[in-house]
Amino acid sequence: MKITMEHGSGGLATGRLISEIFEKSFANPVLSEMEDSAVVPGSGRLALTTDSFVVDPLEYPGGNIGRLCVCGTVNDLLMRGASPRYLTCGFILQEGADTEQLIRITTSMAETASEAGVTIVAGDTKVVQGSGGLFINTAGVGFVPEGREISSTECAPGDAIIVSGTLGEHHAAILSSRMKIENSISSDNAPLTDIVGSLMDSGISVHTMRDVTRGGLATVLRELAAAGGVSMEIEQKDLPVDRQVESFCGLLGLDPLYMGNEGKMVAMVSAADSDRAVEIIRNSRYGENARIIGHVTERSEGGKLTMLTRIGGRRILEILQGEGLPRIC
């Protein structure tokens, strides 16, 4: 079977590649939890994660691959309630890559690392033949306090589902450059350090957190519903979407529910804590547009995600199938 672009979309094809090849080959119970980072015993409880970054173009409105790789890794650690500490980064540079650009990228990484309170402590560089691009692989380490259990299986019926801000900016920014549509959409790539830190400090019991990345909000929530064995209901009227992003999606026949972010997250807390949690997120950096968008309704094998549409209909949402390509028809 040849690898196609669909295997990289974050949707169903990616999931199957992971379970059929990687999970199978590496088989171990920690990996099989399929959480954003792995919490393992060590000196204190370690959270570990790894990620690879292949975004094209390397520099896009609002960021670049450097900022992206630090944010992505830091956020994966934060989603388990870890305090991120150390990052490694391995660069695979293609022949022809531009060092001026590389300096801009590494400067971005350093600035973002400083913003997120992490240190880049190890790295590697390789060069391969190619056409001037580059890829970055990272690993991240953080520490989780004893007793803190934040994962997909902790959410419960009645929990409120909160999203930290508007949907789809990152994917829309990248696609805008590729499809040559001019706008001022900027990637939202950002570390969620302030939001998560404030939530952890508040004493609120946060059950589940996940960042909204490839595949978009619908994919992330559907995966959480399946992992947690619960049904979830969200309301379209409550989804925060910027008008410019919404119109951009309208132009290309895309759905903001399936457009990826790189600086937004969902959090599930008990209904009693939900208003306070939203306020805390709104007062945190990058969380100004946080909203409650729905609730976990009941236990259900395999999980289910339903949306109440603006006109009052019900729509079942599944994981992104395919790549979410633009359409004219």
Binding site: R243, S247, L251
Partner: protein
Amino acid sequence: MCVAIPGRVIKVNDDATAVVDFDGNTVTAMSGLTTVRPDDYVLVHAGCIIQVMNKKEALELKDLFSELEDM
């Protein structure tokens, strides 16, 4: 099919194209199928202006909906 949304003409070029704005997204669309003027609301499909939207008609639609309710 077909994916088309209304936008506002912000500039008419002299090569049968016009610049159309969609809430901050701008597209240079082919304008040879209609006569367009700046500020017109137009329907754009696949980078092509297929119609100038008619606000008067849009208001009459509201009457049509009331008629529907009387059916």
